[in-house]
Point group: C2
Chain length 124, copies 2
């Protein structure tokens, strides 16, 4: 598929898709005329990238961890250097911290909302 279709199917601007390619997060074939040609699996991939970006990870890190996440459970380590392992462990821990922080604050917000709305939403 071409960039326009990928853009529509992922809700991501063409500009951003080119940017992600520039950052090495996705790759594309080229048609004879120079147009980018994407494998359908990039739809999920781009959505995943957006999720990670939105979750606060920079493209630099996403690029590193992506290769470890899209294996179809065959677990062939592409380049499990000790350095890479370190990055992954660090990032996993950072994500755990973030999850805890987010959960804590979201629960506080939810609690506040429940208090304010008096649970009218659910119990009639």
């Amino acid at each position: 598929m071409r960039i326009g279709e990928l853009s529509e199917r992922t809700g991501t601007s063409r500009r951003l898709l080119r940017y992600y390619e520039e950052q090495g997060l996705i790759v594309s074939e080229r048609c004879a005329n120079g147009y980018r040609d994407y494998d359908p699996r990039f739809v999920d991939r781009v959505i995943q990238i957006r999720g990670l970006l939105d979750a606060g990870l920079p493209t630099r890190i996403i690029k590193q961890i992506l290769p470890c996440l899209d294996k179809p459970r065959s677990i062939h380590f592409p380049d499990a250097t000790p350095e890479m392992i370190g990055t992954l462990e660090r990032e996993r821990d950072r994500m755990t911290d973030r999850i805890e922080c987010l959960t804590r604050n979201r629960d506080a917000i939810a609690e506040y909302l429940e208090a304010v709305l008096g649970g009218v939403r659910d119990r009639p």
Copy 2:
């Protein structure tokens, strides 16, 4: 306490603390000489702000939700306008999405790491 101490106790640069103040996330008294003077409760507050920022919330939103999170469980709604409620609900849902995305990907990383490291860490 002055800005230097708050900076040390929160691991946040003085520059940032002034920025947060400019954005309305924190406030400060002023000593006779013009130095900022902070209430000790701002230590926790700043740490919370950093967590929320790191979790991907912009200062604009943080400013809105903070007043709802630092009540000592007395739940007095300061200004629960319908608009405010809407913002909170939206943000709560966004945070939930983020948490799910982060959890999913973190688990994938953890799984990958376990496979690569063969669980040598725990079972000797």
